[in-house]
Symmetry: C2
Subunit: 365 residues, 2 copies
Amino acid sequence: MGKKKKAEFYGVKEIARRANVSIATVDRVIHNRPGVAVKTRDKINQIIKELNYQPNILASRLASRRVFRFATLIPAVSDETDYWQAPLAGIEQAESEIKQYGVTVDKYFFDLNDKNSFTREAQRVLESDPDGILVAPSFIDESIPFVQKCRQRNIPYVFINSDIPEQESLCYIGPDLFHSGYLGARLTSYGTGEGKILVVNISKEIDNHHHLLRKEEGFRAWFADHGKANEIHKIDIRETGYESVAAALSRTFADHPDIRAVFVTNSRISTVAAFFEKRREGKYLDTPNKGQHPVILIGYDFLEKNIEYLEKEIIDFLICQQPDEQGYLGIRNLYQSQVLGKPVEKVHFMPIDIVARENYSVYKN
Amino acid sequence: MGKKKKAEFYGVKEIARRANVSIATVDRVIHNRPGVAVKTRDKINQIIKELNYQPNILASRLASRRVFRFATLIPAVSDETDYWQAPLAGIEQAESEIKQYGVTVDKYFFDLNDKNSFTREAQRVLESDPDGILVAPSFIDESIPFVQKCRQRNIPYVFINSDIPEQESLCYIGPDLFHSGYLGARLTSYGTGEGKILVVNISKEIDNHHHLLRKEEGFRAWFADHGKANEIHKIDIRETGYESVAAALSRTFADHPDIRAVFVTNSRISTVAAFFEKRREGKYLDTPNKGQHPVILIGYDFLEKNIEYLEKEIIDFLICQQPDEQGYLGIRNLYQSQVLGKPVEKVHFMPIDIVARENYSVYKN
DNA sequence: CCGACGTTCGTGTACGTACACGAAAATAAT
DNA sequence: ATTATTTTCGTGTACGTACACGAACGTCGG
């Protein structure tokens, strides 16, 4: 096969030749700049279409001195919010990949326990006048005025992790909470059969409680859709410390010793797991079903603390939605859209992964 | 924050200035080309290190007329081997991303039912003298002489899907078969409890039977590791048509009507599912446990045929290892290594995903 | 001492696109 | 008709790197 298969690429030069104009004119057409007669413009556009012209990004980015600056506004990582480590890693991964194409990413962080910090940092983001923003709109009320200002200034923004549908972002990248709860229910039912089930919401006042509720909805919907009549109890714990969680669980199990599975609607499952670990060791003697068949424990997020209990066979499954990929895709989409001028998907739901102790080691978070 | 944060990048020009030489000399040093005095070379290398010089890939690829040609050698897609559609899609995805950087990918296919076709196509690949090869070494005996020739000619190659560890490839990207079987066992046990289990291998003579065995090993290992004494039966079906599969299953269920779960070691699970569907509709009246509690069905691969049965609630779980990502990463790694000159991971095991009817719609294959 | 040859290095052009600048043509104003 | 103004377009240079070509210098044999 001596086929050279010389993949012929046509550039502005060829377009200019065919249109009997200079490459500068072609360039003007390509970039929608003024100063070209309508007739000429049409002719050139025609030729561009005919040749299926694909600009050489290498040359384009090289010649353009323009530097794109993106900004990210996400929760700071803390003990309470390990979760955000992953999106940050994804953002940094994307940054390292496109840095060489003249893109910088400035990162701003807010405190999930402090709405004011969001507003403050959002202000700083605006002042830096970036070419695009990646934001986790955890505080809806505070996010709306922020993105309105962005729209005024024509700064595109993408949402990750939480969506605010009416706020026409460039795109949304995040989990499908309802279906993740739905899947959680399936896993729970699959292992429990007819047994009693406990749903646990652990969140502070300030937390995005809506997230948890949406998962719970999905969870309950599954049982309804499948005509299962499992007894589903639920407790809301508004104090995230171990003691308070243990106390609540202890009380609940005293009332319902026959609970067979626990579904925790967020990553705080490790606290619940700690309770069960102690229990396994003989603590909480007042909880009657100590020593019985172990309780199935299912929750959320690939965090070190959670993996630990996965290994110890206390947590059974973790549901994850690739938080790092969320950050990665967010930046990539900004790049796609702003630098390359290509369209992006409006809504991108992340896959809903099931992590067990048998596969967590190859899970790419 | 008026910080301009002007990320200062130094280029060959600056290096040349500092070394009191021309950029051509710097270029020679960077590319390890001869014709530079040792003293000059050392000096320039020193400066390169000091400045932490990062070549501008845009300019580099633009200026270099060099075109990289990669070749892929994977099984052709057929009804029997839908699986390979996904890696091919991944390859094409990667190709479209790096095409603009002067990389072409020529695809060669062999017939999984014909070892000779592998040898023939491998020969064609060699004749095309590519700059790198992505190969699925399905036929080990035929692959070894092939990659030996590659090494002779200094053509790097990466393995996907199957590894041949001693053949020092650039890297391996593929599934961890053992652990996928291990996970399958967990899922099976989780839903079955103590029940009887059936392992089904469906493969033609020529198939890579080793793959299936490895999964089965993992499957059995899990039960051993966890001290479970489930009765595990096994059937080998060497004729892949529906009739033959149905006959074998029918016979097995006649002997063991109390089998509670079936684990199929590859994507032919749809054939097994078809059997259960018919059975549900009242066929195979000779199989005693018709109408009883449905049998749990777990197998492999995100194929349309399989998804269909997932939806119909006949298949319970599919284990997938992102075959498209395997193709994608394979090409990306060739690019990383050959074009960018960056090192790549030697072994990359794909995540082991669990696909159920509750999450398949957001699964990215 | 001269030419042949090897070593070491610099000059110059090219890659495909972006854009500043100014020229030419068309139109309007005088 | 002439000048002023606007519209339309071309020329030329730059981006950072790759590489062909040849210049300058030294070495060596005769």
